[in-house]
């Protein structure tokens, strides 16, 4: 089977706020959507399982200081989902090839939520590409006796309620759980997310594999995460070599949207230090 076969093409809605047109890089026949702006150190952010397609204020802030790249994984944003795309191994190899295609060698990698898991997998397989690794309210490790809520059992209303500590954010981003097209798109993105993390919701091998990392690592936790237990960022900080943990006040699971200025400051100073 050719990699180009069997791509499920669906129309992708454009969010009312912060939408920008992406560029595309063709990797294994998949047109990978990405947004890129700025100069300096190459900084890449792996998104979470939603809120794609937007050039959000955090990205704008980062792009003022670095060469900021935000790709969209298969099934997310405007990157289609090929049938063969099944797991984090597929994603890891796809991202490595994506960097080859862009001619980007060493990067500072940031991963948010599910993207934190993706970034951890990538880091474990390609540690020599990394100058630093930052994980924002990540998932992917096992917390014994504390599995947290099952995101796939939540209605859109319940999900949004748990995502934000600061509910004003929903207004700023015009996020409406009743929006038909966005609801359908969220289903398609969750369909891709379910391929990656329906079962199990962790990779036990990560705890061992991440020990290979020699670059500086940072974990950004929430003040009060109602979606993923706060203990998850503690666990990541304990597992990662050379790590520090920062919690940003006023945040729930979505520091990227809730406190972009504070988060950008933390990330940029960490990256600047790591680049030295």
């Amino acid at each position: 089977m050719s990699y180009v076969d069997a791509i499920d093409k669906v129309a992708v809605p454009k969010p009312a706020r912060f939408y920008t047109s992406p560029q595309f890089a063709h990797v294994f026949g998949v047109p990978m959507a990405y947004r890129r702006q700025g100069n300096g150190e190459a900084v890449v952010l792996f998104h979470g399982a939603g809120f794609t397609r937007r050039w959000i204020p955090l990205y704008e802030m980062l792009a003022k200081s670095v060469d900021f790249i935000a790709p969209e994984a298969p099934g997310f944003g405007e990157t289609p989902l090929p049938k063969w795309f099944k797991n984090f191994d597929d994603l890891t190899i796809l991202y490595d090839q994506f960097f080859e295609t862009l001619g980007v060698d060493k990067i500072h990698l940031i991963g948010f939520s599910m993207g934190g898991w993706a970034a951890s997998e990538f880091a474990a397989f390609y540690p020599r590409r990394l100058k630093s690794l930052s994980l924002i309210t990540p998932v992917g490790l096992r917390l014994e006796d504390n599995p947290g809520v099952d995101i796939f059992q939540l209605s859109p209303v319940e999900l949004l309620d748990r995502l934000f500590k600061d509910k004003r954010v929903m207004q700023e981003f015009l996020i409406d759980p009743e929006d038909f097209e966005e609801g359908i798109h969220l289903y398609s993105e969750f369909s891709a997310a379910a391929r990656l993390m329906w079962a199990p919701r962790y990779n036990l091998a990560l705890e061992r594999r991440l020990q290979r990392l020699t670059c500086p690592t940072l974990v950004v936790g929430a003040e009060d995460d109602q979606l993923v237990p706060n203990a998850m960022s503690d666990r990541f900080a304990a597992v990662l070599p050379n790590s520090r943990l920062v919690r940003i006040p006023g945040t729930g699971h979505e520091p990227c949207l809730e406190r972009p200025r504070a988060l950008a400051d933390v990330l940029l100073s960490f990256i600047a230090e790591a680049a030295r």
Partner: protein, 449 residues
Amino acid sequence: MNQLRFYFFHLMPYPYIPPTAEFASTWVSLSNKYYEPQRGRILYNEYIEQLVAAEKYGFDGVGVNEHHANFYGTMPSPNIIAAMLVQRTTHIPIGVIGNAIPLHGNPLRVAEEIAMLDVISGGRMISGFVRGIGCEYFNNGVAPGDSVERFDEAHDLIIKAWTVDGPFTWQGEHFYIPNVNPIPRPIQTPHPPVWIPGQGSLETLQFIAKHHYTYMMVFAPQWFTKMAFDGLREECLRLGYEAPKTMFNAVVPTYVAETDAQAHREAKAHLSWVFNTGLKIPDQLFFPPGYMSTKSFRNFIGALKKGRVKAQAQLTYDEMLKDRYLIVGSPETVKNQLGEYCEDVGAGGILAAGASYGPMPHWMVTKNMQIFSEEIMPAFRDADGKPDHLRHEPLAPRTRAEFAAQHGRPPEPARSLVTGSTQLIDHRVAHVPEIIDASLRGHPGIKLG
């Protein structure tokens, strides 16, 4: 052949749960702490009584199915119930409609169990295959996005295991089995009839048409069932054959009593329970991500929003009657409506006819069965009133005498070698020294007599 076949289909609900308004879903999240095994024992055994009784009332078949972690249907392992029915009935076909084949680690287990049941029952099994509804995927590690692929592959594996001599190797994408060699094989050739329950998706219809299987339309309004049946007829014509009426079964709960008013008085609360409580399921549990393609999901949610279809939990009893999800009334009414319905959609079989619904008391189920069998069934049968399965000889002898008469007298004995000996033992006479002595005398390893 009779005009219409009637199948007694049971879901085996457990209705002793908190009032419907107090929980979000009867599936997945409603705690199993509400299941009281003491009550469950009474219920299961009553339900089994009803299924067994269906043979005496003259039904064309009985049916059970697989559901998990819910109070709507408490048969996580339908083959276990089928095994009991095999033992307590003699001639009636028994349908497991169906086994949720993508959910299990090794689909061969289903091939083995159905083959066991088919052999023990003398070829009376109907083998249904389903994906399982979306909720089912929360109870195990199978990703809902793999559901269709796993269904297709498990189906191909089971059919091959039943029809091709083993051993062979299965090298699939989702299942790898180094040695496929299920023992026993089913009695029915090439294999037990396959029924596919569905909700009318084009993919399902094409699959059924391709394999000449029997379709089973689950709860739906009449217009929708007709659309799906027409679609299936068209797919069959496209493949060059005219679909026989027996390919089309519809699940239409049917309740009959002395008068229309009496029938509604008796049935309304219980039939409503099946839809309003039993199927109270939030969208995100009904359709876990990947269970449907985004396109299908979009069509479905779009139709819900536009009011073209209604979630089953939202239907009122009057709407269920109007759209013919159900048929309820006096014998005259039920006869007429069933006749119209089957003529309109072109159905050859009705499932859940004259059956048990939700928390309906046992006596009421029995009442429905009796009136249904005496006043409705004969109207759709040949003059003798027999179900079709009594019109032909059983597929396999039921007694040793019949077997011997048909397979040689005496039947071929089992023969084996005892370790240390080179001479075959004839197990039929192994204990009779004067017969066996001649062949084994003098062998140092064996002492006989």
